[in-house]
Subunit: 315 residues, 2 copies
DNA sequence: CCTTGCCACAACCAAAGGTTGTTCCAGTAG
DNA sequence: CTACTGGAACAACCTTTGGTTGTGGCAAGG
């Protein structure tokens, strides 16, 4: 299938005849005739009935037409996604099920007119480099990790604190609790196979362990969140941490429990990062939106590492 | 943009290297290299960073990738829409805002696994011919019009009665009524510029006029339903009929009123038409679904023309 | 330092896809 | 009845695209 042929097909369908479509496309009528013939040959159906006064869509052609239009739309969007200058706003949300992802969904609902490309960049260094190069517009990250200062041309603002919850299977000792304190977690095995040394979230959990003496195991290969949930559901002695806003796609009958943690509640601090000189108009809209959602912040009873940036009052 | 190049791009992104992608696509590595280079040249961005151990997506490449996948998906669906044998179920709903269209939306929600192509065929003759030729699987129509019998190989069953409502602007004499009787409508001008002589709905309205002595004007060119609604909203002396299930896309503040009609309520009878020998598996599902929705039928207090087929009890 | 694995470049060739010129066909006017 | 008009298909030709084979460059690893 050739997109040029599809474009020709739509032009002929709109014009009602080959000649006019040919003028529109700036080719000869014979070229249009050839393109349509080739498309019909590839698809194995006749798309137009040719008459001496033009071309009329067959039933097959009518069925194909909306798909053809959609195809051209999607192609245009694809090209636009990498068009220099006026491309969609590119925002990195680390992973597709976290709080940042939810924020971007809400932002999209609030501003459906803004074209977005949500991306998943694993490494913070990559994200920062991409922001500095202009290839990325913004990233949600935890910033302030000791020894890894942000370059001066990168600005950041803390936008959402995500409370961590304990996730257990039905057989876990704490499965029945409506909430647990951090002190109650000492001695329980908490398994987080996704943690990669050197990342900002590794630093976060290192601090959490150091502060409260928890037992967090990052051992074993990470087979993905499905495997993690599977294991947690089936292993009574195992639990894991999970962001409060993290969406699980999981059959309800596995009996996984989400248990709030208190005294204090560990919260994961998400900041928005962007380049000082980024001119993308939608970036300002996003920042304004996030400033609005973050207005009702109250840090009482929560914990974050020392190195996390302070909340600032919106101007 | 060339779909083959996009396909190649996705293959390379998945494989992580040109060579493996080349094997998958059954071409040489050099061909893959050329295709990617051409795609990059067309888009104006670099999609991969080439290393001696493979190819890695750039940020632009990562942004482009989901659009590329979507493009291939849509292309596949487009091809499938005209594929002989296992193409989607094609159902004609006459116009996109009527009761039949709503039924098909509900059917799609109930059976999202069934691929559908909803079509809009103006003429009944066209629809019947298409059904007989196998190019169309089903059509919603009012059947039984005198002098235009269905061919014996076309089966039909009445599936939904759509009550007609009076649509008026805020200044109309009946605008404040909670409901009106057919008798109250005599003398009021009812404007239906969409009616085309010779169609089954023209026959319906002819019978309606003959039965109750209404004043229905079909004069003037039809500039589309937007223009119709515009005129009705602004003209106190004008009203029109509209199906109860017809969805209006209209700013709420224009003050259009939908007023139920009683004593009796004129209902427009939609039947499903299909070919006796049509083997499409989804057609049976659709018929079963419609038989289910039509179960709660009660014709008391309604009117349809004499020639409309009777409701049959589902087997 | 050499081997290995992978990608880019060059030369070549077949085929796709464009152009011009022409034919065919069905309404329509004379 | 015939000639004309407008529109699509066919034929011949040519350019350009996109494939192949052959070769060179480059970084990682033994």
């Amino acid at each position: 299938m050739d997109l040029e042929a599809v474009r020709t097909f739509v032009a002929v369908a709109d014009a009602g005849q080959f000649q006019e479509a040919a003028v529109e496309l700036a080719v000869t009528q014979q070229a249009v005739s050839k393109r349509i013939a080739a498309l019909e040959r590839n698809l194995g159906v006749r798309l137009f009935t040719r008459t001496p006064r033009g071309a009329q869509l067959t039933i097959d052609g009518q069925a194909f037409l909306p798909h053809a239009r959609e195809l051209l739309r999607v192609a245009d969007r694809a090209v636009a996604s990498v068009r220099a200058g006026r491309r969609p706003l590119r925002v990195d949300v680390i992973n597709s099920r976290g709080a940042a992802s939810g924020l971007m969904r809400d932002f999209h609902r609030a501003h459906p007119e803004i074209d977005l490309d949500v991306m998943l960049l694993f490494e913070m260094d990559t994200a920062v480099a991409a922001i500095r190069s202009g290839a990325l517009d913004a990233s949600f990250r935890a910033v302030g990790v000791p020894g890894r200062p942000l370059p001066p041309d990168i600005e950041s603002v803390r936008v959402v604190d995500e409370p961590l919850q304990l996730l257990t299977g039905p057989g876990h000792a704490l499965a029945g609790a409506r909430s647990v304190t951090v002190a109650q977690l000492t001695g329980h095995r908490i398994w987080m196979p996704g943690i990669v040394p050197g990342t900002e979230w590794a630093a976060y959990y290192d601090d959490l362990v150091a502060e409260f003496g928890l037992t967090i195991e990052a051992t074993g290969p990470n087979f993905g969140s499905d495997a993690l949930l599977d294991t947690v559901a089936d292993t009574p002695a195992l639990a894991t941490f999970m962001g409060e806003h993290t969406r699980l796609v999981w059959p309800a009958d596995h009996g996984l429990r989400r248990i709030p943690v208190t005294d204090p509640t560990p919260v994961y601090p998400h900041s928005l990062l962007w380049h000082r000189d980024n001119p993308h108009p939608a970036l300002a809209t996003l920042r304004a939106y996030l400033a609005g959602t973050a207005a009702d912040h109250d840090g009482t009873g929560t914990w974050t590492p020392d190195w996390t940036p302070h909340w600032t009052t919106a101007p």
